[in-house]
């Protein structure tokens, strides 16, 4: 900020038959401050008005504009401007901004809040419906593309498939292993503190075994993969969309669905069951370790109980969900990537959306599985 002595200043000197306005200092946007407010407050002047701008050291368009608008306002209020004195270059600038005066575009009137809320809700609903319809269409096209790929395996992009298997499967192993191990530990620890009260410590094996195999292993893996790979699919395809690579593909006779979507869907459908298997193992390992430390259940004891009490069907129920969840995650990720518009902002929005939608769909599907399996009494 300029020092006080450099700020714009304004002074009013009463005359016998009117008022003299004297201004000086730096009349630039950053130095106007108080002078701007003082000029605003100036009421209509009885008699004649003299404006002396001679002592203004520097004037910019903002300062010139304020002087112009004040003069104009005072004139409209009936003040008679006798003379205005300024350095020639300042006078020229004031005339320049005068010549550029345009009416300010009016702000759109805000609607009544109730109407605005209803309006937004309506638009949002319409958007969701439209988006769902398009997504359904995308599902159909992906299924067709998958069918075509399975009839003509030579059309499949094997290199891309291997690459995505590595990205989504192999590279996700450490994080999936670590998280499921820790959840196994937590489950056993929480179970132990409850079951110990009934002297039923050994049932911790049932608790950890069933919950990890049937629900926790797959659900946790699916959520990690949705955050990791679903978003990566959207970001990768979306940035290709931004750089018009998708359009280039189409003009070169390549089908983006075949080239980009099919390998990703297949890779994830293969990778997620494998990751789920890993998560099951690590979860059980974590549970076993914690039971040993906390309850003194030795590993072979735990395994014996595990074999006797936990049915193999729990494992299969977990595993059968994996490809379904993988399909949903890949579908949502690719769909959002292809729906990116031509600006970087939409890429960010779509990526966030892909993760949220994928996790939502995974949980909905999981609930559907529970209901169906309950009905089948499995």
């Amino acid at each position: 900020m300029p020092g006080m002595n450099e700020m714009a200043w304004i002074d009013t000197v009463p005359l016998a038959d009117g008022l003299r306005l004297a201004a000086g200092g730096l009349w630039t946007a950053t130095a106007l401050g108080e002078a701007a407010a003082a000029l605003e407050r100036l009421g209509p002047v009885r008699g004649r008005l003299e404006i002396d701008l001679d002592r203004i050291e520097r004037l910019d368009t903002a300062g010139a504009w304020l002087i112009h608008r004040a003069t104009r306002r005072l004139a409209a209020e009936g003040t008679r401007l006798d003379w205005r004195r300024a350095r020639p270059d300042h006078q020229a600038l004031i005339e320049l901004v005068q010549g550029l005066e345009r009416p300010v575009a009016p702000r759109p009137k805000p609607r009544a809040w109730l109407i605005a809320v209803l309006n937004r809700a309506g638009w949002a609903t319409a958007k969701i419906l439209r988006e769902s319809r398009i997504q359904l269409g995308f599902l159909g096209r992906v299924v067709l593309a998958l069918a075509r790929a399975s009839i003509q395996p030579h059309r499949l992009r094997w290199t891309a498939l291997a690459f995505h298997l590595e990205q989504t499967g192999l590279n996700a192993m450490p994080i999936v292993a670590l998280i499921s191990f820790l959840i196994g530990v937590v489950l056993a620890y929480q179970g132990a503190s409850q079951l110990q009260q009934f002297g039923a410590s050994i049932f911790v094996v049932d608790l950890v075994g069933v919950s990890v195999l049937r629900e926790i292993g797959i659900l946790l893996t699916a959520i990690v993969v949705a955050g990791r790979s679903g978003s990566a699919f959207t970001a990768a395809i979306g940035s290709m969309k931004l750089r018009e690579e998708i359009d280039a593909m189409r003009t070169l006779g390549l089908d983006p669905l075949q080239v980009l979507v099919v390998p990703r869907v297949i890779a994830l459908v293969l990778a997620l069951p494998a990751l789920t298997f890993l998560a099951d193992c690590m979860g059980l390992l974590g549970g076993m370790l914690m039971s040993w430390i906390e309850l003194g259940i030795r590993p072979f004891q735990a395994m014996e109980r595990f074999q006797a009490a936990v049915d193999i069907r729990h494992f299969w129920i977990g595993m059968i969900k994996a490809p379904v969840f993988a399909f949903l995650i890949a579908l949502v990720g690719c769909f959002n990537g292809l729906r990116v518009k031509s600006n970087a902002e939409s890429l960010g929005k779509r990526t966030t959306r892909a993760v949220v939608e994928a996790i939502f769909l995974v949980i909905v599907a999981d609930a559907a599985f529970s209901i169906i399996l309950q009905a089948l009494s499995l």
Binding site: R69, P103, V104
Partner: protein, 259 residues
Amino acid sequence: MSARPPPPAISVRGLRTAFDRQLIHDRLDLEVRAGEILGVVGGSGTGKSVLMRTLLGLNRPYAGSIRLFGIDVTAADDAMRRAVNRRLGVLFQDGALFGSLTVAENIAVPLREHARLPPAAVEEIVALKLAMVGLPQDAARKLPAELSGGMRKRVGLARALALDPELVFLDEPTAGLDPIGAAAFDQLILELNRRLGLTFYMITHDLDSLHAICHRVAVLAEKRVLTIAPIAELRRHDHPWIVEYFGGPRGRAALGGAA
């Protein structure tokens, strides 16, 4: 005090910049006079943008001194640098407008940040800046995404002019504009230079712009400013790159059009 000639807008001595152990500029000297329109040309990779970013303080030089309006900014502290920057305006290549703000809000950003003005006055000054860059007032409430490339550049220029800078940097202002739009933008720059005495530092590949509005042209090559001269003199220069640039088919065509 008005008798003393103003210091050069930009004065660079012995500048050296480097990225990843690759020398971009070495012993580069440059002087831009107050009130001129300087065109900056150079082949791809000669560091035109790096030089601009260094002058703006977005990049730290390894050695050398940079004076803006006679103030040594390489030795300046943060407060001083900010004070100098307030006297600069920059138009980035695609305008670099804030996507979430309307055109009017974009232009008002520097005014609201650095000046204490009545809100109504801010609105009117925004309208004034829009008129200065030749934009219709109904553009004010639009979002940058709703504008054409040429309009975005004009809004970018209006925002750069918000605080009435003395020196304006333009990064390829006519790139991506159609010839009519480009010529109109050239005229706008020329008019702002004449009417407000603004100094322009303009990176450009547009031979027509160079001919139409630049008082002098600086040629960047061999890690330094090879030469700086009015375009008519450059045509007599015998450096192979300059001969190729102005003597090639496009260079000759632009010359023919200007003559």
